[in-house]
Symmetry: C2
Subunit: 99 residues, 2 copies
C-alpha cells in the first residue's frame, strides 16, 4: 500500500495528466488547460479576481517559452505554493514557539 | 472541500511535520527524523539497500549545511522524485506516442 507521501506524489502526476491530455500535446498544459486546472484545483487557494493571473502564472512557469507548461514546470509551481502555504501556517502557529 | 491537488499539498505539509516534531527543532528534520521519514514514507520508492543512502540524501538536501532539512529543502526532494517518477511513467507509455 502506498504511503501518504507516495499517494500525494501520485496525485500530483494524476492531476497534471487529467488536464494536459485534453488538447494538443498530451504531456504539456496549454494556456486553456492551465487555466482550467488553476480554477478547478486551486480555485480556493488562489481565489484571485485578477483576470490576468493565469497569464502571469503561465509566464512565470513557462521557463522554456514554448507557450506550454510541462510537468517539471508544473511541479515547481506546486512546490512554491506548498512552501508558501507551510510558511503562512507556521506564522499562524507562532514560528518562534519551537526554536 | 479541498481539491485533489490541494489535498496532495496538505499531505506534503502534514507528512513533513509528523516527522519534524519528533526531536530538536520542530520545523526541521534531523538526520534521525529524515531517515525515519524516508524508510516509512518512501521505503518502496527508494527501496535501496544502500546504508549510506540517507547520508547522501541529507547532504544533497541540506543546502544551508546546518545538518538539518527544512521544509523547502524537503519539498525540493519530493519534487525531484515526483518528476523522476513521471518521466519513468512516460517512458513506460512510449513518450513518442503523443508528440
Amino acid at each position: 500500500m502506498a504511503s501518504q507521501l507516495e499517494s500525494a506524489m501520485e496525485s500530483l502526476i494524476r492531476v497534471f495528466h487529467n488536464y494536459s491530455c485534453q488538447e494538443g500535446d498530451k504531456y504539456k498544459l496549454s494556456n486553456v488547460e492551465l487555466k482550467s486546472l488553476l480554477q478547478n484545483e486551486l480555485g480556493d487557494f488562489l481565489g484571485s479576481k485578477d483576470p490576468l493571473l493565469v497569464e502571469k502564472i503561465m509566464n512565470d512557469l513557462d521557463k522554456d517559452h514554448d507557450g506550454e507548461v510541462d510537468f517539471k514546470e508544473f511541479v515547481i509551481l506546486v512546490a512554491t505554493l506548498t512552501v508558501a502555504c507551510n510558511d503562512s501556517n507556521m506564522l499562524c502557529r507562532g514560528i518562534g514557539e519551537g526554536m
